[in-house]
Amino acid sequence: MIEVKDICKSFGNLQVLKKVSLTVNNGDVVAVIGPSGSGKSTMLRCINRLEVIDGGSISVDGAEINGNDKQIRKIRQNMGMVFQSFNLFPHLTVYDNIALAPRLIHRKKKEELDPLVDELLQKVGLRDKKDSFPAQLSGGQQQRIAIARALAMKPNYMLFDEPTSALDPELIGEVLVVIRQLALEGMTMIIVTHEMNFARDTADRVVMMDGGQIIEEGAPDRLFQDPENERTRAFLHSVIGRQ
């Protein structure tokens, strides 16, 4: 379980998160939507401590994150992150990108790594790209590899920071398919996204953020159909009207 309590975060004079609270139980798939600058990505990055909060607390599996390096690394090993710009390691093959962390941290040997990488590539549908380099792959393929890399550590949680925002439209679908499959398998996920239809179909809960706060939260059907908050309504209208 991930518990975010009243967190605040400022960048210089700009306060990006204003007392944000969120609880994610095991098995939950939470979609976070909202306009640019609402703090969605920042909140996500605070959870795996890529950003440090100025106030409030974040607890993972009951233990509060307190700034201890060892603890942070352990949490990150149990929490996969998928970035908007993939961030694959360009000098390593697909195989090495996926196998790097298990090899260094879990000290897995080749006999264990081969089937692991194979299974993950199968899962994301890219078994034949094992020896390719990231530069040789399309955006959609790179992002799927990035997902496989994050899954290699067998995390209990997966964080997605606008996973399809940097992709050409025709490549978005193949990535969403993989994420949806993960959701169906029961992975606990927080997905920051602009893909409204995807959020509606896949999430258990949708969280709407604006101006550094969570202004509405609820079941996808209810929130999309009949939003309570004015700003939610306005946002959905401007986004879905175009989709």
């Binding site: 390096d69 992150m81 970035f83 390691f89 360009p90 790097l100 994050a150 550590m153």
Partner: protein, 215 residues
Amino acid sequence: MDFSWLPAYGGMFFEAFFLTLKLALMAIATGTVLGVAAGILLTSRFRLIRGIVRVYVELFRGSPLLVQLFMVYFGLPHVGVNISLNMTTVLVFTLYGGAYIAEITRSGIEAIPKGQWEAAESLGLNYFQTMGHVIFRQTLKIAFPSLVGFYIGMIKDSSLASVIGYSELVKKSQTIMNMTARPFETYIVVGLCYFIICFPLSKLVSYIEKRSEAK
């Protein structure tokens, strides 16, 4: 112009040429070790470490090599430290090269997109694992042209060691020049020796640069 003396002195030139290469290679090796270490320290999150290394780098990049040679060669005995000419020369070139290579290394590391660090950290890798497996190899690729370019410069800079009496090509050629009384031709040959090493190397560097840009 008269090069008839060349066959007689050819052997001496050859020997002296190798002395220059020996010095240059040694300086390159030690300078790189120091420089890379200093460059990594320049990216440390501790202000004090960065500050100390920065002072060293600024000083040795902000003054002429000749002055550095004089300072160490004349200055150390003056404060009671007596080391051989060989060691003095290698020491100065190491410090000089280290400062420039530190800057090259630092800018190479800082050129790596932040996303690479974030991806490695998100996987739970620690600083050393991240540096060793993800960052450093990419740094090498980025810094390679500047690094080799600097090495070529070191080969030419080694000529200044002659001023403090170190035996390399220029120093030896002065002896030859005195014996043949033909400074013009002598220095043409000396220049040629440097040229046949430096010219192909610098062409190689531009070739590699063009190739990596074309990709």
